[in-house]
Amino acid sequence: MSIFELRCLTKSYGKKVALNNVGLTLEAGRIVGLLGPNGSGKTTLIKLANGLLRQTEGMIFIDGKEPSTETKSIVSYLPDKDFLPDWMTVKDIIAYYVDFYSDFDTERAKTMLGNLNIDENMRLGKMSKGTREKVRLILTMARRAKVYFLDEPIAGVDPAARDYILRTIISNYEPDALVVISTHLIADVENVLDEAVFLRNGEVILHKNVEELVEEQGKSLDGYFREVFAC
């Protein structure tokens, strides 16, 4: 049984169709890129998988179950939003994660914070934007989840931290976990991806192994993406 499956998934807002009859199956032990221009439905898809939206039609299965409190305990989501409470310190938010997620690995979190020289006692509201992004990523990756959804994990971060983040994603790799990365910065992440899913206007137009695609097309994933989505 695959760890992530979408069947005939449709989400519409009145007349506007964000996702149109999407079918997709992803296996554990893979790092998958969810790629497409703005408005292609990437964020809608991820929100649906996380139970933040209700679909209009179709089904979503995470490890065989539909999105619920049960699936939330095995899915770790990094949204493209600053969701941290200003008033908490790093220590506070770690305690919060420990309180609610049984799979949170405090040791791992503290190690990563140390590697990036982030002071545990600092208030989140007082940190720079870049540092807050790093904290959010660390919290997400410190969970030993079965499915990770990372929405633009490296977009607002400096190049050195980007490398660290990609290495963290690689080092976090578990054969029984799925990592889905949704991003614009394809060139930066393509070496880390097993598979690529191209989304256009709410439909999946491609789902392929990246190495196979590169071999077939004789160009990088980024190059092929630009070709496919040329305006």
Binding site: I31, I170, Y173, N191, L193, E215, S220
Partner: protein, 122 residues
């Protein structure tokens, strides 16, 4: 160690090339234990599955072998390494000739250039 990958060529092929390079340049000695797939993947900033694929291919090529409990090792068979050396030298020489031919050099001019270089190095 910096891994540089070029576009348009599958990563696993480029990984194999680099490791072959390291084998011949002496970075990895005959019979030496290789770092784990995960370690190398992190170093190269690539997907562990891709690194795994490269390793599997090199195993098929009999350049490395797996010891079930302890990991992966460079082959102890020197003939394999010698064959690799020969293969790569042919490949780079062919590339060299192809490049210079496309620049308009004929074989004699190429030989002269090579001789000059060798004399210069003496």
């Amino acid at each position: 160690m910096d891994w540089e990958f070029k576009k348009g060529v599958p990563i696993y092929i480029q990984i194999i090339e680099k490791i072959e390079f390291d084998l011949l340049s002496g970075k990895y000695k005959v019979g030496e234990k290789l770092p784990s797939v995960r370690e190398l993947a992190m170093e190269a900033n690539v997907n562990p599955n891709t690194m795994q694929k490269a390793f599997s291919e090199m195993e098929r090529m009999e350049l490395i072998f797996t010891e079930r409990t302890s990991g992966r090792y460079v082959t102890t068979d020197q003939t394999k390494i010698d064959a690799l050396k020969k293969e790569l030298s042919k490949k780079y020489v062919d590339e060299f000739f192809d490049t210079l031919h496309s620049l308009g050099f004929d074989d004699n001019e190429i030989l002269n250039a090579v001789n000059t270089k060798c004399k210069g190095e003496e």
